[in-house]
């Protein structure tokens, strides 16, 4: 019996949306106040959904403590209370929440014991969020 288990985490980080491929004016036009040279920050909500068979002995799709451990190690310790622009993953791509969402998915993919990573949602504020479920084949 396949079911899904979801868990939400919060991380606080700063970023600046700026592309080296664009002129100063173009950056300003594309990113508006998010292009502020000093950056700004968000409390991001990272929602992780995993799917798999419900274990007959425990009634669980995934051990919550093990999922937490993976997310803590691979995502939270990496991004929480950091400047995203300085992370190697964002040296060559703008740390938009779209790109953060994909980065979180790729960091977690294959690392969840007993369950498959189905999708990652990152909420930048209460009013905008992004979802990624891997590349569609």
């Amino acid at each position: 019996m396949k079911a899904y288990f979801g868990r939400r985490y919060m991380l606080s980080a700063s970023h600046r949306l700026h592309s080296d491929a664009l002129s100063a004016e173009e950056n300003k036009a594309a990113y508006g106040k998010c292009n502020n040279p000093h950056g700004h920050g968000h409390n991001y909500i990272v929602e992780v959904l995993v799917g798999g068979a419900v274990d007959g002995e425990t009634g669980m799709v995934v051990d919550l403590a093990e999922l937490d451990e993976v997310v803590q190690t691979k995502v939270m310790q990496r991004f929480d209370h950091t400047n995203l622009n300085l992370d190697p993953l964002f040296l060559n791509q703008v740390p938009t929440t779209e790109n953060l969402c994909r980065a979180v998915f790729d960091l977690l993919k294959g690392g969840i014991p007993s369950a498959k990573l189905e999708f990652v949602r990152v909420e930048e504020t209460e009013n905008n969020f992004f979802e990624y479920c891997g590349e569609q084949v």
């Binding site: 019996m1 396949k2 079911a3 288990f5 002995e57 425990t58 669980m60 799709v61 403590a65």
Partner: protein, 139 residues
């Protein structure tokens, strides 16, 4: 096709225990959830149905009807109950959030199917604001 989701809340107590295991193993695997005196949550049940809006009413389903189905099939059995002791499906199955989602689906699906029209596509159960499980009727 349109999906429509209705939310309801219920409060219940539970504990996690596998009768085939020793007390030590239960405590090791389930931690504080293995406390046989139980503990409780305010659960949120989200029920999603899918269908075409009726040409006359514009409704996929009548929301009042869906509320009544959720009440009669799930909330009447789970709200202000001890799930292990009072819901028969959890007499020998752990009332994890995953299993509550599956059991809620089984309680809701026949009533929604018999009514015709919309079909049940998803049941999501939040145990806390940050933890949820979902069942989509898959084998």
């Amino acid at each position: 096709m349109i999906e429509l989701t209705r939310r309801a809340t219920f409060s219940a107590s539970h504990y996690y225990w596998n009768e085939a295991w020793s007390a030590e193993k239960n405590e090791e695997v389930f931690g504080r959830c293995a406390n046989r005196n139980g503990h409780g949550h305010n659960y949120t049940l989200e029920v999603t149905v899918a269908g075409e809006p009726d040409k006359v009413t514009g409704f996929v389903v009548d929301l009042k009807w869906l509320k009544e189905v959720m009440q009669s099939e799930v909330l009447s059995a789970y709200d202000h109950r001890h799930l292990n002791l009072e819901a028969p499906e959890f007499a020998h199955v752990n009332p994890t959030t995953e299993n509550i989602a599956i059991a809620s689906w089984r309680r809701l699906e026949p009533a929604i199917r018999e009514a015709g029209g919309a079909r049940l596509t998803r049941v999501r159960v939040y145990e806390t604001a940050d933890i949820f499980a979902e069942y989509r009727g898959e084998a």
